[in-house]
Every structure is written in structure tokens, then in C-alpha cells.
Amino acid sequence: MDFSLTEDRRMLSDSLSRFLADKYPYDHRAKVAYEAPFHDAALWGEMCEIGVLYALAPEDAGGFGGAGFDITTVFETLGRGLSPAPVLGTLLASRLLTAAGADQASLLDGSVRYAAAIGELDAPYDLDGIETTAEGGKLTGRKSVVYGGNDAEVFLVAAKSGGTLALYEVKAEDADVTGYGMIDGGGAAELFLDGTPGTEVLSDARAALEDALDAGRLALCAEAVGAMDATNEMLLEYLRTRKQFGVPIGKFQALQHRAVDLVTEIEQARSITILAASKMGTPEQAHFVAMAKSLIGRAARLVAEEAIQMHGGIAMTWEAAVSHYAKRLVMIDAQLGDEDYQLERVMAGYAA
């Protein structure tokens, strides 16, 4: 048993932390995260040079990582720094290309921006509900809230082809892409396909899509853990320094016990994320990732809402960093399967 990070992962985490602290300080982040392209595109290449994307892919796909703990190391650090960079969509795409055995050198070196177009308005999480179709290399349908889709050059699109779910590569220039910023920062897009040409990447993509989604869910769990840690530190600092009735408000037991409960939830969230990461690549991957994402959905929302409440009015302002962390923590739940959806996946194992 060993709960410490390997030397390589610790170094990657340290470099990425330093990069985010130096290049994405709060004021800069608050500016770029909400203006197209909703991250600092000039810094994308620099971040890739640290090895962030290579860490997400296994060696035989050209990377140097790809394991559960590689993913959590990168995303926990991104979460702590509240990075708006479109790494989630890149991870999903990388995972799909790895499954297809396709070349992804240009994705990993950061020179070409990929996004994964899987979810739809009426099937945000569920692969069975996908309505987009492919016929003779032409795709028709609408992909909704494609993370990083606003400035992606290539989309990997999940579509029904005959009776199976297949995966296609669609060039942004061939499609109708409507990009937008998200309420918690970062960009996404609606992808409208109307006989749009696509190249088949995988003819039966179901397993690859499930796996990519699990990797994305694990990433979101780790991102939430990083963001919860940062939020909690801000909250404790505020409780120590904000005075009312002549004393720091952290002296009030009504707030102390709630702060303890948050720490308890954060430690549970960290634990289940570690557990899920350890199960990646095993037959239990889906089960434990579902458990983790369900717990994280609830815990992250609690931390966000309680941090706002205990900060009081100041957390209602755009100016306060805590408000942006809180938004991210709440919105993570709606990405790639929320608390209830993941709970259903866990429950599905009970019927037998």
C-alpha cells in the first residue's frame, strides 16, 4: 500500500502548478475564461510542452502515461488552478484515437485541437439515446455542449450507422459550429450536422466511447477534488480573518461544524477518486468510476453552496475567486453523467 505519487507524476504536477500560478493568475483567468476562445490560446502550446497531454496517453499511442493516476494527477492540478483550458475534450479524443489505433501525434503535441462530440440535447449522457446518424460517410444530427468545441479543428463524432454506434472524424470547416462560453468559464459548442462529410475512425465504437467517457468522468472527479481543496483553503482563510460581532466568524460553532463536514466530504471525495483511478483498465472500471462521479457530484455541489453561504455576500460577487470555483464545482456534476445518472449505473448491478 502506498498513497504517495511517483516522482514523475509529482514533477508533472509541480510544473503544471507553477505554470498555472505564473501564467493563469486569478485576474488573467477571470478575463480569458469568459471571452472567446474562453481560454488563453497563446498559452496552449506552452502548457502542452510541460507534457500535460502526453501524460494522458499510453506509450504505444505516443504518450507517456494514460493510467488512472496520470489522469488524476493532471486534472487535480488543473482543478486546483481553475484552468479553463480545453483539456477534457482533448482527453476524450485522445482516448478514442488510442482505441482506434489512429495516429494522434498532432493532438499530443498540441498543434491540432480535437474535441469529442458524443452527447446530445436529449441524450446528454446516455449512448443508447444518440440520434445522430451516418449514411455513406455523411452525418446528420446535432451534438450538444461539445467541450472545447468552440475552437477545435477536428471533431470525433459518435453516430448511429446501421445498428451500431460508430465514430467519425469531422473537420470543423465542414460543419456548422456554434461556439459559446460556459457559465463557469471555458468554451463549448453546438455542432450541427446536415449531410456533413465524415471519415470513419471506428465502425463499432461503443466500448471505446464507454471507456473514453469513464476516463473523462475520472478526470472530472480529480478536477473537482483539486477545486474543492482550493475552495476549502479560501473558506478557512476567510473564517479566520473575517470579523463580525468583534470576533473572527470561524469562532462560531455554527460555522465550525459545517466547515468540518466539508473537510470530511472532501476526504471521502479524494478517497473514491483514488479508488476509481486504481480500477482503470480493469473489469470494475465502469462500476467504480460511476461510484466516484456520483459521490463527487453531491460533494462538489455541497462544498460550492456551503462555501458561498459561509463567505456571505462577498461570494455573490464576480470579483471573488470563490464564486468562480463554486460555479465550476456545481457545473462539473452536469458533465458526462450527473449524480443520479451515475447512481443508476451503480444500482444496475443490484438486480442480478
Binding site: M1, D2, F3, S4, L5, T6, F69, L236, L239, R240, P248, G250, K251, Q253, Q256, H257, A259, V260, D261, V263, T264, E267, Q268, A269, R270, S271, I272, I274, L275, A277, S278, F288, M291, S294, L295, L343, E344, V346, M347, Y350, A351
Partner: protein, 396 residues
Amino acid sequence: MDLNFTREEEEFRDEVRTFLDEKLPDDLAEKVRIGGELEKDDMERWHAILNEKGWLAAPFWPKEFGGQGWTPVERHIFEEECARANAPRIVPFGLAMLGPVLQKFGTKAQQEYYLPRILDGTDWWCQGYSEPGAGSDLASLKTRAVREGDEYVINGQKTWTTLGQHADKIFCLVRTKTDGKPQEGISFILVDLDTPGIEMRPIKLIEGGHEVNEVFFTDVRVPAENLVGEENQGWTIAKFLLTHERTNIAGVGFSMKALEELKALARRMKRHGRPLIENPLFAARIANAEIELEAMKITNLRMLYTAQTQGAPGPETSILKIKGTVIRQTLNDLSRRALGPAAAPFPSEEMFGNAALVAPEDVNNAADYFNNRKLSIFGGSNEIQRNILTKAMLEL
């Protein structure tokens, strides 16, 4: 990151499993499985079996006092396997509590006299800490011990004395100084329950069981040599003991067992003609509890890892107490709800004897739920744990 146990640890697990397979008597395991009440003789029988193997003191005592020098992880494996096999719990008062206190604060004479008697079962110890007016605020305790020559004279009342009805001796926190800070006037003393002036009365608990007692002291004369540590050093000892009470504080093994039983029950019980476990509302409740428990297992291992690599466990173990007790209570609650109206019959001897009337493992279902409300109250209530974490971890 590596969540696997080492080969040595897995071998140790096999050894524990084999021992339990061979030596745990079936009737004891069955009693524990159905949540039946263990007699004094049952507990003593199990202690003797463990002692013969050299494992009675093993989870609690260091090697020089007859322990096995187990690591925190090995202790955890032992506890997990015991829970899995439905072994009775080791009665903690002599082994987990007084033993370590005597080893740390006792005189050589006290160690040589008392420790072997704890191991061979000659002495059954109980605890005299809480008082009617001193629960969470333990330092406000009033039971008075006044030095007269080479004796202390004790007057006062202790309460919540668990299994005191079986005990020969009691270790007590008593007040030996009334001025100054309350914490600085407390001493730790050993009392023979045969001493004149002691009366023990049962407290009937919420579910009807007799588990705890009140102990009344009227002019009880105790030899001064029964003092452990210095006079007025009792609070230091009490705090030391608190950290020793923390082994297995998360109760993960018990919760794993409870979850397994809950699932079996929810498969057995029917609603709308279908197994209850297929009801989405109820299945969601189970799933939520299971997720918390899976996380708790890792939280527990992480803290074991910290204890193993950095020495003693820190204040963060209070998290285990808070979350671990709530998970167990939630599982008890769901089991009671799964059984539904059939949880209502008051558990009695006839019930236990009549499997046609009610399944043996269901007899104590509601009683267990009510009894385990204690989990979040004793050993430092969950609110006291939050106070500890506020100071020690959050530094507020």
C-alpha cells in the same frame, strides 16, 4: 499510488483466515451473525482461544508486553477478518484501554500484577469515566477521591459503565483537587468492585437491553498504591487513552457486513411483488450508502498508511469516527426499513427460538437500529469530534 496489500500482508490475512476457520466456534459466530446477546461466558471463551494463539493482546500491546508487534495495517487486516467471520469483538476495557495505560503510566509492580490477569481473564475491567453531570464535558467530573493516610476515600457516581455487570474491577477518573483548572485536578485510579460502599445498578437501554450500568461510590476506601501515574495526572492519561480507543474507529468491517446483510434482506423482501432491491428508490438509498462505504474504506486505509509511515494517527481520525458511525447507522436504518412492519415484534427468547415465526437474523433488526444510535454519541460524540477537528485540523 498502490492500493494493494503487500505479499506479507496477504499472507498474514491468510493466516488470520485459517485461524478463524479452525478456531472460531460455530455457535459464537452464529450468535454474532444474528445479532444475539453474548453471555459473559461466550466472551471469555473467545478471549481464551485468542490468548492461546497469542493474539488477544496482539492488536493493542507492543511486543515487550506480550503483543505481536503488528503494524497498523496488520491490525486492520485482523479486525476486518474478524468482522467478516462474525467473531465476537474483543472486550476493549482491559486489553485496548487499561493495558496500554499501565504500560505507559503504571509502575513496574502494577504492570507485573495486572497485565497477566487481563490476559488470562482473571480480571474483567470496566470503565468509570462519565457521570450524570459530565458527559461530553468530561473534565467537569465530580466523583471525589480524598487522600486519608495510605488510602483514597471515594464518593460519587459513574455512569454508562459498559458490561460492568460482568466486571471485577473498574478504572476511574476521580477528582483529587477542586481548585484550579478542572483538567488539572483529575486522577486515574483502579478500584476493586468488591470494595464495600460500591453499588452497581443496571440501566435499561432504549431497545430493552442491559449493556450499561450506573456505579455508586459511598465512602469507598481504595489503597493509594492503586493510583496510576501521578496524582492529578489523570487528564493526560484520559487523553492518551482516547487515541488508543481509536483503533478500528471507522468500524469498516462491521459496515461491510451490514451492507452485505442489507442487500440479502432487500433481495428477500418483496414490494409490488418484486424484490425490494429492484425498487429504484430503495436501491438508490443502498447505492448511496455503498458508495460512502467504498470511499470510507479508502479513507481508512489512507489514515492507516499515515499512521504506518509517520507514526501515530493524527486528529484527522475524527473524520473516521464521524463518517464511519453515520454510515453504519444509515445501513441499520435501511435494514429496518427493508424489513418493514416485520421489524416491529419485540425481540424475545421465543422469537429467537422460532425460525418459522421470524428469521433468526431478523429478530434484532429494529433493536440493532435503536441500539446503534449510540455510535454517534459514545467515545466522544460526533459533535465533540467536530470540535476536535475544528481546533486541530482547521485551526479555527
